[in-house]
């Protein structure tokens, strides 16, 4: 790391339920407000209490693409956390640990700073609850941040608990801050001033960005059922939506949530739900109904780790198959995947637009690492995604309205209850243009073709805007085709590989169904080899590419519950280049 630049990683590990997450969030916000870029990652046990929480912040004076590979400062607040993570601390890095909880350890080649955090909090401040603020003070001092940065965030965090609590936390902050001064030889500041503090940024995570984007996108009804790691989308929408004349309902389960969404969409509102794998599984039947009866719906799936209940607080990209293929017989659907926190804000608006315009269910595949990745993003452009409205028919005479009219685009103007003379019955039974149940082979062919034609239209007209290419594919040693939350890490890995003489380019389609086949094949034809990295076990995206395109991807599928490590992906790029 260049001495005059800022780019370092702090990892916090401590007992679940002991305030580690909030310590991480305070630290992150404090640093972001000083003008730094931040990029975080968290993982925690599935239980409410017990087990170790891990929070990692990377801080830099330039845009960040990953949460980093090597830890510069490791803050260990419990023994299990210490043991599980100490190996990640790079040579020359610093260990700060709570000496009340973690026994003394020698760490050759690393600085070691013990702080009796609990003792300070209890004895000096008189409240064990201030432990994490003591730690905050220590960390801020260690990395060279002004204590005021901590004061502001402490005030904000605790002000609703009253002045006394704020004062106690000020004390705690300073106690931690001052305690560190005795370790002067370790404290070579890692923070280097930023030129100018950019206030046109947000410090936000994927779920929050998605929630705001949805509200901005005209959401009329949100129906959901709690499930980790999607719940906080609902929690972010709940206090806001009624102000925008929308309705939020906690349903009795995911089937009901989607039923409410379909009802609301049928009745003319933009509607969505968000869930994770188990919930998406339960929605399969009604997603199909939406495709067949041509009802708009947006379903966000925040993928989590493991099959069945699996690893509910971990991350994976394991639901692609279910999103693409989770339908008996065949009806159209669209699958989108945001690639960054910023993208969450925009892509959900596209999802609402596509659902509305094409009268299809749209599944948005996020994942836990993206959902809870708190980082700095440029303040979103509220005008970037123009609203697409539903195509509605002219008022008519009841009995004459061809709800499922066969058109060139496949889109049939869709009436909204209340419109005059357009009463019709939406149905999941195969039907003719007038929505009457019809069982002939000819009708089946005609209607199924019409319905799928909508996807062709979407693909032909809009595929390009959903594809991002990084680097120059022409003659690249390795062309990476990836999807979803891995984009940043992959870009960083490309850079790392570049330093070792391997040139890579990357293509990220944010629209996975319909798949922009032409663009993908064109990209593949320009690179020497195609590598498809993804966070699952069987290589779902690679198999999908093989099925749908003529390219021959090399799959790198790795399922750990954690995001990719840029170093690890770099190795893969180099390996493939040398194959």
């Amino acid at each position: 790391m260049d001495g005059s630049r800022t780019d370092f990683v702090v990892r916090l590990a401590g007992e679940s339920g002991e305030g580690v997450l909030s310590l991480g969030e305070m630290l992150t916000t404090a640093l972001a407000r000083l003008g730094y870029e931040v990029y975080t990652f968290r993982t925690y046990p599935a239980e409410i209490k017990g087990g170790t929480v891990l929070y990692q912040v990377r801080v830099a004076d330039h845009v960040l693409l990953s949460y980093g590979s090597h830890v510069d400062v490791f803050v260990a607040l419990n023994e299990e956390g210490y043991h599980d993570n100490v190996d990640s601390l790079r040579p020359g890095g610093t260990l700060i640990y709570d000496s009340d909880n973690v026994p003394t350890h020698e760490l050759p080649g690393r600085c070691v700073i013990p702080i009796p955090i609990g003792t300070i909090a209890k004895k000096e401040i008189g409240s064990v609850l201030t432990k994490n603020v003591v730690a905050l003070g220590a960390i801020l001092r260690f990395i060279g941040a002004p204590v005021e940065a901590g004061e502001r965030i402490a005030e904000e965090t605790f002000k609703r608990k009253g002045d006394e609590v704020v004062q106690k936390n000020y004390q705690a902050l300073h106690a931690g801050y001052n305690y560190i001064s005795q370790f002067a030889d370790c404290t070579k500041p890692l923070l280097h001033g930023v030129e100018q503090v950019n206030t046109e940024r947000l410090i936000i995570n994927g779920n929050e960005a998605l929630a705001l984007g949805a509200v901005h996108g005209g959401l009329g009804l949100y129906a959901g059922y709690p499930i980790t790691p999607a719940t906080d989308i609902m929690e972010a929408v709940a206090p806001i939506l009624p102000r925008f004349d929308g309705v939020l309902m906690q349903a009795e389960d995911e089937i009901s949530a989607l039923g409410m969404v379909l009802g609301a969409a049928f009745a003319g509102k933009r509607a969505m739900t968000a869930t994770s794998g188990p919930g998406l599984s339960l929605m399969v039947e009604q997603i199909n109904l939406a495709g067949q009866a041509e009802i708009p719906a947006v379903i966000v799936d925040v993928q989590r780790g493991g099959a069945s209940t699996g690893l509910p607080t971990k991350s994976s990209q394991g639901d692609l198959n279910l999103a693409l293929y989770g339908v008996h017989n065949e009806s159209p659907r669209v699958v989108l995947a945001p690639t960054s926190v910023e993208d969450c804000f925009y892509l959900i608006q596209h999802a609402l637009n596509i659902a509305e315009r094409y009268q299809v269910p749209v599944i948005v595949l996020s994942d836990q690492s993206l959902a809870h990745r708190r980082c700095t993003i440029p303040k979103p452009d509220l005008a970037r995604v123009p609203r697409w409205d539903r195509i509605v028919p002219e008022p008519g005479t009841n009995g004459e309205y061809a709800r499922y009219k066969i058109t060139e685009t496949g889109i049939s103007p869709m009436a909204i209850p209340g419109m005059k003379g357009l009463a019709y019955t939406a149905t999941g039974i195969e039907h003719n243009e007038y929505s009457d149940p019809t069982y002939t082979p000819e009708n089946l062919q005609a209607m199924k073709t019409k319905r799928f034609r909508k996807l062709d239209h979407l693909n032909q007209h809009y595929a390009e805007q959903f594809v991002r290419i990084w680097g120059d594919p022409d003659g690249a040693d390795v062309g990476i085709i990836g999807w979803g939350s891995t984009e940043g890490v992959i870009r960083e890995a490309m850079e790392l590989a570049g330093r070792e003489g391997v040139r890579a380019a990357a293509l990220y389609p944010k629209m996975l169904l319909p798949l922009p086949v032409r663009i993908i094949e064109e990209f593949a034809s320009r690179v020497k080899k195609v590598l498809v990295p993804e966070k699952n076990f069987t290589g779902e995206f690679a198999a999908y590419l093989r099925a749908q395109t003529r390219i021959e991807p090399i799959s790198y599928a790795k399922d750990t519950g954690l995001p990719f490590d840029p170093e690890d992906v770099k190795e893969q790029i180099i390996r493939v280049a040398r194959m």
């Binding site: 407000r33 206030t199 940024r201 947000l202 410090i203 936000i204 929050e208 705001l212 509200v215 901005h216 009329g220 009804l221 129906a223 009624p242 102000r243 925008f244 004349d245 309705v247 309902m249 009795e252 389960d253 089937i255 009901s256 949530a257 989607l258 039923g259 409410m260 379909l262 009802g263 609301a264 969409a265 049928f266 009745a267 003319g268 509102k269 509607a271 039947e285 009604q286 109904l289 009866a293 303040k379 509220l382 009841n398 009995g399 009436a415 209850p417 209340g418 419109m419 005059k420 357009l422 009463a423 019709y424 019955t425 939406a426 149905t427 999941g428 039974i429 929505s435 009457d436 149940p437």
Partner: protein, 293 residues
């Protein structure tokens, strides 16, 4: 539903005839099926209330009975099996101005649909739910339903049904429904009146209708009900929960009419109240960004 609140059934000048609600699609039910009676009673009730078909949605599931929306010239949503109530809830929340009526079978509503039934009751969403209860699965050709009688013999229960029989009226009452009635397909005027009252009722209104399946149910036939049904006595106080539960505790004779009727805030009213409480002038996402800076 302004019109149902400001107008009374009796004085409403009838502008639409029952036949005006009939669509071009011919019902596909077996000749004699009880569902014809329900359909006709619904036509009558709609015309009595002079309901605007363009502002009405019938929501159904899957079953013979669930084909009903296609035969009525209102908006309709013929969804999947068992999901009438979530869909109806979504419609009503999206546009409380609409009259929303769920229509379906006992299998659809009380077997697979049980997931949603007590929840719709407790939410007191302002919709009407009309169940054509033939105590059997018609469309799949005659299997037991949760309301089938003990030892009922079908192809899936060749040794007789050994599961207890559900009492949907009692479940509705204890779950928080505010209007609970029973109708009979062969008492069309009575049924039309009940349906009209149910539609007018602000809150969740269950109308469970005996609607015999003449093809598959050889026990609960029209003959069977003759002499077994009787009108809810005038003396019955429909606001008395325990009296209603007692009346619904049927064994051999079945009361027809409104068993239970009370008022409490509906879900849609409460949601409107929340909107009011949350109200801000010119809400903007720009403004929300501040929390993330």
């Amino acid at each position: 539903m302004e019109h149902t609140q400001t107008l009374s059934v009796e004085t409403q000048p009838i502008a639409r005839q029952p036949k005006d609600y009939k669509s071009d699609l011919e019902p596909i039910w077996c000749p004699g099926c009880g569902d014809y009676g329900v359909l006709n009673a619904l036509f009558k009730a709609l015309s009595q209330l002079n309901i605007d078909p363009d502002r009405t949605v019938l929501v159904s599931g899957i079953g013979c009975s669930s084909r009903l929306p296609g035969f009525v010239v209102t908006y309709g949503f013929h969804g999947v099996h068992g999901r009438i109530l979530p869909v109806a809830t979504g419609i009503k929340l999206a546009n409380p101005e609409l009259t929303v009526i769920g229509v379906g079978g006992d299998g659809d509503g009380y077997s697979i649909g049980m997931e949603h039934f007590p929840h719709a009751c407790r939410r007191n969403i302002d919709i009407t739910y009309l169940v054509m209860n033939n105590q059997i699965y018609g469309l799949t050709k005659g299997q037991t339903s949760p309301t089938s009688s003990p030892m009922f013999v079908t192809k899936t229960t060749p040794f007789g049904n050994v599961e207890g029989t559900l009492n949907p009226l009692q479940i509705a009452i204890v779950s928080g429904a505010t209007f609970v009635a029973r109708g009979y397909s062969s008492m069309p005027n009575q049924l039309a009146r009940i349906i009209a009252e149910a539609i007018r009722h602000p809150g969740f209104a269950l109308v469970d209708v005996f609607s015999p399946c003449v093809t598959f149910n050889k026990v609960q036939t029209f003959d069977y009900y003759k002499g077994r049904v009787y009108e809810v006595p005038e003396t019955h106080d429909p606001t008395d929960k325990f009296a209603a539960l007692k009346l619904a505790e049927e064994e051999e004779r079945f009361p027809i009419g409104i068993l239970y009727r009370v008022e409490r805030p509906t879900l849609d009213e409460q949601v409107a109240m929340i909107k009011q409480r949350a109200h801000t002038d010119n809400p903007s996402v720009e403004h929300l960004f501040r929390r993330f800076q």
